[in-house]
């Protein structure tokens, strides 16, 4: 937690813990993915490529990091992580597991065999690694819903998943086998002694500063550099769009940017805090985030991706922004040592265009603390074709302050309805100052039709988006009315 003194990144090889020792890598393009490195350079082919975009999980590996001097193990998608982002970390792949247990197989692997959890076997190493991360992080088997979440980034086309759920449970019924963490922790500690990373190969440069001042300075010096955080979008620029990225400025090693600070008025979430960490804090503050957090991409993507990246990316269908805008979040921008902030909705100028100026970067997202009185109503609903790990057709967020039956303040924001995430200002005005009533809701629904002119695409038609946006207002109204009627399919117990 000590503030890091400014330190210029030093040219040196990438180093990370792998297969029981520290590996030093040079001469590899900084945009080489971890998966390409494993499969093509090391011929370690247990980890598979299924999609090269972080959506199928066949490439799942586990990345270890020192957090407060403990080893944190998290599943990630090797297919979209650039190799230098591993610097100072530990990499575990499916080949690391065998031999740890009493038999040749780790309990997670043995359970997958015993429960018939593999058919074609191609997705299996990825499942094994997701399950192994869960196994190392939880000493008893989590409930089924949590297992489903752990596995939401791993697609299987053969089994229908039932035997994999069984395997998750069965792994815990065998004698527990835990990784010996001491050697890994030692190696990670030792690697911290190395200076911040500057890496160059194939005419491409990669800087991983560890302090904010240096990041600010490098950003000002290299405004052309691609700012890289979790790599969950930029990774696809390389694997899918085949773009060349000559210079990369990585925010993930800047401790100050990974920090989440909470004071009386704000949650201040550093731009490089992972979505996993950010949502944990946001959910403890405002439980309505829980479902959105769970349905936001998948654990490997949330472990790598950052809230700052989701916000800075400015996609019209980014999951976090409608809720953040509804809550009155502000985005903090920094150029060298100078900071400014603005309401998040003002950050978005047009499709994929933001208020970021040259040399500037997103430093933090600030969310107002929950009001102490309970007059504020907050809801976020994401609507997508598939419940888990899908991109929203429509995402609606509502923050209403209702006192004495009167709507004092309404902030309504949508994703999927316009070229940017944005507020439904007409609908807000149709509610504000009036009694919270069905009539007001009808008026707001009519106003909503004026607020947005959504597009048709592969996720949904414009007509569907308009209908659902209005229906979410209906649901908001119904959710405040009590009664026994079931309002969402998630509320139903199994038949």
């Amino acid at each position: 937690m000590n503030p890091t003194t400014p330190a210029e990144p030093v040219a040196r090889p990438i180093q990370f813990y792998f297969r029981g020792g520290v590996r030093h890598v040079a001469g590899v393009s900084p945009t080489r993915t971890v998966l390409q490195y494993l499969r093509e350079d090391l011929h370690q082919c247990g980890t598979k490529e299924g999609c090269a975009e972080g959506d199928c999980g066949a490439c799942t590996v586990v990345v270890g990091e020192l957090v407060d001097d403990a080893l944190q193990l998290r599943a990630m998608n090797a297919c979209i992580q650039f190799l230098p982002t591993l610097d100072g970390k530990a990499l575990f792949t499916v080949e690391d597991l065998a031999g740890q247990g009493p038999t040749n197989l780790h309990p997670v692997q043995q359970a997958m065999v015993d429960c018939h959890g593999s058919q074609c076997g191609f997705c299996t190493p990825g499942f094994v690694m997701s399950l192994w991360a869960m196994y190392e992080n939880a000493t008893s088997c989590p409930p089924r819903q949590e297992v489903a979440d752990v596995l939401s980034g791993n697609l299987c086309r053969c089994t229908g998943y039932r035997p994999i759920f069984d395997a998750a449970r069965a792994a815990y019924q065998q004698p527990r086998v835990e990784m010996d963490r001491a050697a890994v922790i030692d190696a990670l500690r030792n690697m911290r002694a190395a200076p911040a990373l500057a890496y160059e190969s194939h005419g491409q440069r990669f800087w991983a500063p560890r302090d904010l001042d240096t990041l600010g300075r490098l950003r000002a010096e290299h405004p052309q550099a691609t700012l890289l955080a979790g790599s969950t979008d930029v990774g696809l620029w390389v694997t899918k769009q085949l773009r060349e990225l000559p210079d990369i400025l990585y925010t993930g090693a800047v401790d100050a940017l990974r920090h989440i600070h909470i004071d009386d008025d704000w949650l201040d979430i550093g731009a490089a805090a992972s979505l996993t960490d950010a949502f944990a804090v946001m959910t403890s503050e405002e439980p309505m985030w829980a479902e959105l957090a769970r349905r936001f991409a998948s654990p490997p993507v949330r472990n790598a991706g950052t809230l700052g990246g989701n916000v800075a990316n400015g996609s019209p269908i980014g999951d976090s922004m409608p809720g953040l805008i509804a809550l009155g979040a502000r985005v903090v921008l920094q150029r060298e040592a100078v900071r400014r902030d603005m309401p998040l909705e003002d950050f978005y100028l047009a499709y994929r265009r933001t208020a970021l100026q040259e040399g500037e970067f997103v430093a933090a997202v600030r969310i107002p603390r929950r009001p102490r009185d309970d007059a504020r109503l907050f809801r976020i609903w994401k609507v997508s074709k598939r419940a888990d790990q899908d991109i929203a057709a429509v995402c609606g967020a509502f923050a209403l302050t209702v006192r004495g039956g009167i709507v004092e303040d309404a902030r309504i924001a949508f994703g999927g309805m316009a070229a940017t995430p944005c507020r439904a200002l007409r609908a807000e005005r149709a509610l504000e100052g009036l009694p919270w009533s069905q009539v007001a809701v009808r008026n707001a629904q009519a106003a909503l039709a004026e607020d947005f002119a959504p597009l048709s695409d592969m996720r949904a038609s414009a007509a569907y988006r308009r209908t659902v946006a209005a229906n979410l207002l209906e649901r908001l109204w119904l959710s405040t009315q009590g009664g026994d009627a079931v309002l969402r399919v998630e509320e139903l117990a199994d038949a």
Binding site: H116, C120, L492
Partner: protein, 787 residues
């Protein structure tokens, strides 16, 4: 903790005398899968000098290529060579049915994404980058994209096929009730986790060895030979395993196989070609989507008196397997029901889209969907429980001759659906739950629930009779171990596991004493595709025949040593028992070897009884039928259209199971795959013909949370009445239709949200949008599309 109960495998499915067959055991490669040490084609170590190929793809849906700037392609970093259609030494052609309508490299573009050229470079990445930068000029022409475009333009790929019995029109006209309807059933991407991949290694004296992830090595052998202008014996195809196939690697492995081989020939170097997921999904065929129209006449109790179907499918630009796929749709639009007066018209439409192909079920599911939709409409019109209408229309008891003949003239001799449905309805508490759901729906305006029981009857055999043959080669090495080669391919379904069980059983050996070799055209020739659910039926029989011959030889030899009858020699527990003594199998084998007894044998099998005349579509195309049924309960949200599957019960007939664990795996996996097809998996093309759902980010197959939390799957106690391998039944495809119960439960829930007499049309897939559209239309407030 709310975990489902573990599956209890029924141990009584096979006679207790069997030691290996009939027992649940893990997939033979399971330990390799979980450790990442199972080798897939792209995992093979590269030979020195290996190059990598990538395709240049068309960026228009219809037109002709005016120019490809080959010199510019050649100048890209890392590029070693470039190939276009003009460079193909043999035939620039890879139609699996020799229709001469599928160029390897096209100059007349017939779909967006069609391969035009290939580059070969020093790395996979450089090859992709070079191919992406290709400069191609086109003369564009207007394109027909949807089946509706093709119908409007009268654009047919293949001749229309009609099958009729009785006078359907007259029967409909005379019926007390009449209905007409239309429904659209979308296509489906296979989404095998391992994309298409081939690795071609040139050999001496004009020969080529291609390692290929394919369900059809023999076809790849012929296509590669044809492309090179060679003969079959110059080309060897090897496939140890695929990372999923589902029909998508039956003919669709052709491009990677041919292109890798052509470039290996041209450069003299080994060439690997694997398709990036987006390219894979853009250039390989999918399940045919169908527009289904029908007219039906029926009695007060729902009995169908006359029915007419018009099934129009989108075949895409080339014949591929569209003929037999659509034939199988015809063969299955009776599903479980006797159709007395029936007229089926099958239209095979040509569009400027990727050529649709085999996919688990092979047209059968589309035909089945057609009749099940009619059943639902009849029940809705009558206000009846759809299950009652289903029961009323089932084929008659096979013991009798009443209502037992299919529209294609085959007698249904093994019908078990009436008892199967009764057992499932009772086990799943169908009737009481249906009542509870009605009460729930009356009290809940927003969330609606629905339940449905749907049966499946699926014909087993290739409809093209000639493909129903198989070969195998069994080696007993003189240390007593066994190696089996056979013509079927392993795509995860467990064929190798079952064949090992079958051969181990013959020799009385433990499972581990038998090993499988990779499927290879040099070991077993002239194989059929591993398709039509027939892998174990055909190849298991062939392997067993070879093993039995060797065992008989060993028995004769042992009997001779002891002066007893060969029939008295038994093989069990790894030992050979003869004349009151026993010895290890390996010891007898070594003695036999020393006595110059032949210890290897080829086996062959052809399915008996089947025949049919493709010109009249009459005969017995199927050896037998597999049966099953499922009950699903769902809830839908009428504000968003989002759904949740609350419970699924399945009872399925696999005959006497060879491996209950694998069979249940096929049933559950097929169920979830079919459920995805009918719910979340939507293919969406842009106006210019580009498929926009070309990756898992946009094409949504079921995820873990979509697996029903309550998912009870049982095997129906039955034995195949035909002499199939150990009296088992094929299981690959039939379960894909079980989740029709999910679709029709969704439809029932949507019905609860609209007036009882309102029109209800729910197209598949039942995405949230499709559900809201159906409800909005039923309420008389259709969702308006922007103009």
């Amino acid at each position: 903790m709310n975990h489902p109960q573990p599956i209890v495998f029924q141990a009584a499915a096979q006679p207790e005398t069997l030691a290996v067959v009939g027992h649940a055991r893990p997939h033979e490669s399971a330990a390799l899968h979980v450790t990442g040490s199972a080798v897939y084609t792209d995992d093979m170590p590269e030979l020195a000098g290996t190059l990598h190929a990538a395709l240049v793809l068309a960026e228009v849906a219809h037109g002709s290529v005016r120019r490809i700037d080959v010199d510019a392609l050649r100048a890209q970093p890392g590029v070693v060579d470039v190939m276009t259609g003009a460079d193909v030494p043999g035939h620039n052609e890879c139609s699996p049915v020799h229709a001469h309508d599928e160029p390897i490299f096209a100059d007349k573009v017939q779909f967006y994404g069609q391969p035009l050229s290939a580059v070969v470079a020093t790395s996979h990445d450089l090859a992709r980058r070079a191919a992406r930068r290709a400069k191609v000029e086109y003369d564009k022409q207007p394109a027909l994209l949807s089946v509706y475009d093709a119908l409007a333009a009268d654009s047919h790929l293949l001749p229309t096929v009609e099958v009729a019995r009785g006078n359907a029109q007259a029967a409909i006209a005379a019926a007390p009730h009449r209905l007409a309807g239309e429904v659209y059933l979308g296509g489906q991407e296979h989404f095998y986790l391992e994309g298409q991949v081939s690795y071609a290694v040139p050999g001496e004296g004009d020969s080529m060895h291609v390692y290929c992830s394919t369900q059809h090595p023999t076809e790849m052998q012929h296509l590669v030979a044809d492309a090179l202008g060679w003969q079959a014996h110059q080309v060897q195809i090897t496939c140890r395993r695929m990372g999923g196939g589902f029909g998508g690697k039956e003919s669709q492995s052709q491009h990677t196989a041919c292109v890798a081989a052509l470039l290996a020939w041209k450069t003299g170097k080994p060439v690997r070609m694997r398709l990036d997921r987006d390219d894979d999904m853009s250039i390989t065929g999918k399940r045919h989507d169908f527009d289904i129209r029908y007219e039906v006449g029926f009695a007060d109790d729902g009995l169908i008196l006359g029915i007419k179907f018009e099934l129009a499918s989108r075949c895409g630009y080339s014949a591929d397997l569209s003929g037999p796929v659509n034939d199988r749709a015809i063969f299955h639009c009776d599903n479980a029901y006797y159709l007395d007066a029936v007229a089926i018209r099958s239209l095979r439409m040509k569009t400027h889209t990727v050529s649709n192909t085999a996919f688990r079920g092979f047209g059968g599911p589309q035909g089945t969907f057609a009749i099940e939709s009619v059943i639902e409409d009849i029940a809705r019109r009558l206000g009846a429980d759809p299950l009652a209408v289903r029961r009323r229309n089932l084929y008659g008891d096979s013991a009798g001759d009443v209502r037992t003949t299919t529209p294609y003239g085959m007698k249904v001799e093994d019908n078990v659906l009436a008892p199967l449905i009764d057992q499932l309805a009772a086990d799943s508490d169908y009737a009481a739950r249906r009542d509870r759901i009605a009460a729930f729906n009356a009290a809940n305006p927003i969330v609606k629930r629905g339940i449905s029981l749907t049966p499946v009857k699926f014909g087993i055999s290739f409809t093209a009779t000639l493909f129903n043959q198989a070969g195998a080669l069994v080696h007993v090495y003189n240390d007593g171990t066994v190696l089996v080669s056979q013509g079927g391919t392993e795509m995860g379904q467990g064929l190798y596991t079952k064949v090992r069980q079958i051969v181990a059983e013959v020799f009385g050996l433990p499972f581990d004493a038998v090993r499988m070799s990779a499927t290879d055209t040099t070991r077993v020739p002239n194989t059929s595709a591993t398709a039509a659910s027939s892998g174990t039926d055909l190849n298991g029989m062939a392997a067993r025949a070879a093993a039995l011959e060797i065992r008989e030889r060993l028995a004769q030899f042992a009997a001779g040593l002891h002066g007893v009858d060969a029939a008295s020699v038994t093989f069990a527990d790894g030992r050979v028992h003869v004349a009151g003594t026993d010895q290890p199998f390996a010891a007898l084998v070594m003695e036999a070897y020393r006595s110059r007894i032949k210890l290897w044998e080829a086996g062959f099998y052809k399915t008996p009884k089947i025949h049919y005349d493709p010109t009249t579509m009459q005969g017995r195309p199927f050896f037998y039928f597999a049966y099953g049924a499922a009950v699903s309960e769902v809830a839908i949200d009428t504000l968003t259209g989002q759904t949740r599957v609350l419970r699924v019960d399945v009872l399925h007939d696999v005959g006497r199971s060879i491996n209950p664990a694998l069979d249940i795996g096929q049933i559950e996996g097929g169920f979830v795959q079919g459920m995805g097809w009918l719910t979340t998996e939507e293919l969406w093309w842009r106006d210019d013909g580009k498929l926009m759902t070309h990756a898992p980010s946009t094409y949504k197959i079921p995820a873990a949370s979509d697996c029903p939390e309550v998912f009870n799957v049982k095997l129906f106690d039955n034995a195949n009445i035909e002499d199939s391998i150990h009296k088992s039944k094929a299981v690959g495809e039939p379960p894909l239709m079980l989740p029709f119960s999910v679709f029709f439960a969704i439809r029932a829930a949507a019905a609860a949200a609209i007036p009882a007499d309102a029109p209800l049309r729910l197209d598949a897939p039942a995405t949230p949008e499709a559900i809201l559209r159906a409800i909005a239309a039923g309420r008389g407030t259709p969702m308006e599309d922007a103009t």
